[in-house]
Amino acid sequence: MLRALQAVLAAFFGVQSERNRQRDFQQSSPWPYILAGLFMAGVFVVLVLLVARWAAAS
């Protein structure tokens, strides 16, 4: 699961090394990646919301 999170973060940032990519694509199931992706998308939305609120309040 930690590996999936790391892969999702790399995807969000837009840079991933070839070694990690090979490792990720040798996994048996894509589900940890899909779930981690959805979870991180939610975290990102909440983060943007919090930053916007903080900026509007300060």
Partner: protein, 378 residues
């Protein structure tokens, strides 16, 4: 060889330097105007900060590029490298732009917050876009009027030399006092327009059924011009904006003047007008409101815009009611709008009379303002 490159670079800078400097000089007209409000100056300095950041990035990126092109050229025996991906470099060239964007967002957000804070305004003005004119209503002063293109038709048609403010002048400018917070409410009567005055740093869409908001405090008296910035149909280019900023005393006396004119106008709607009076006024109204489609000589642009000259509706007694009805309430299913709510009864009576008598239509009909008033009140 390297020396030659340095020299040519220096020459290039020498040649383009003054041009660049004068382009950045705001009076040249190439750059964005700093404007006459605190907000517009803030936006201008944001624009300049970001411009210089872009220049710095360009110098670094193109510098490295041209330097590598020159130093590692094939004729010097340079061999291309054959590697794929370098994660460290990729992380760096993603993180640096990200950091630059965040740095730029901080002052931009601070300014945005000020732009959206329309609270505590002393004057409220409702700006309504029409095809193709602006309407201004001073909500607390009980004053409202249309602001039409002031450039004469003859200049547009090329029969006369163009004036200094060609297509940037109006008959009734928006008059505002300096040093007071003015809140604008924007909406539209028909399609989407945009009220854009660069010197006030305001560019807002006016959307039917919506109200947008903005505000300004003008620092310096003067005349500030703008245009509709949203393509809105045939005469989109012919609905300019003219804002006249004056001292408070001048503004107050202007308000009194406007109220007097409005009262006199209302009073004259009661009396009987002569045919000549109606025709004279009607000619002006026709030029402003009708000539764009029906043409100055009444020949129209058939089939979309029918001719009025020689039209049986305008030349016969039977057509009179139909004619008045079309001008007041429009013709559903065509592009003819009703002017019953936009023009005064005096203007309506005058323009209908004019159309029934101009270009050889010669009915001799004088349509009285009182008759129009009765129809509109029904």
């Amino acid at each position: 060889m390297l020396q030659l490159l340095y020299r040519s670079c220096g020459l290039l800078l020498l040649l383009t330097g003054p041009a660049l400097a004068s382009a950045i000089n705001t009076s040249s007209g190439w750059n964005m105007p700093p404007g006459v409000t605190d907000i517009s100056r803030e936006i201008y300095s944001l624009h300049m900060i970001i411009f210089w950041i872009c220049v710095a990035i360009a110098v670094v990126v193109f510098g490295v590029m041209f330097w590598s092109l020159f130093v590692y050229r094939k004729s010097k025996g340079a061999k291309p490298a054959h590697f794929h991906e370098n994660t460290t470099v990729e992380v760096i060239w993603t993180a640096i732009p990200l950091a630059i964007l965040v740095i730029m967002a901080i002052p931009a957000t601070a300014t945005l917050k000020k732009i959206y804070d329309a609270s505590d305004a002393e004057i409220d003005i409702l700006v309504t876009g029409y095809q193709w004119r602006w309407h201004y209503q001073y909500l607390d002063q009980d004053i409202s009027f249309f602001s039409n293109l002031g450039t004469p038709r003859s200049q547009i048609l090329g029969e006369e030399d163009k004036g200094d403010f060609y297509l940037l002048e109006v008959d009734n400018p928006l008059v505002l006092p300096v040093g007071k917070k003015v809140r604008f409410l924007f909406t539209s009567n028909d399609v989407i327009h945009a009220w854009w005055v660069p010197d006030l740093a305001i560019k807002k869409d006016t959307i039917p059924g919506f109200i947008n908001e903005s505000w300004t405090i003008i620092n310096e008296p003067g005349t500030y011009r703008g245009q509709c910035a949203e393509l809105c149909g045939q005469d989109h280019a012919y609905m300019p904006i003219e804002v006249r900023a004056v001292t408070e005393e001048v503004w107050l006396s202007w308000l009194d003047e406007q109220r007097e004119t409005a009262a006199a106008e209302a009073a004259s709607g009661e009396r009987e007008w002569t045919l000549a009076e109606l025709n004279e006024r009607g000619a002006g109204v026709y030029t402003t409101y009708c000539a764009a489609c029906h043409q100055a000589d009444g020949s129209g642009m058939p089939p979309a815009f029918p001719a009025l000259r020689g039209n049986p509706v305008m030349t016969s007694a039977e057509g009179r009611d139909k004619h008045i009805n079309a001008v007041l309430f429009g013709r559903p299913g065509t592009s003819m709008p009703g002017y019953g709510t936009t023009l005064s009864v005096n203007d309506l009576a005058a323009v209908i009379t004019y159309e029934r008598n101009a270009w050889g239509n010669d009915t001799g009909d004088a349509v009285q303002p009182s008759e129009i008033r009765a129809l509109l009140d029904r």
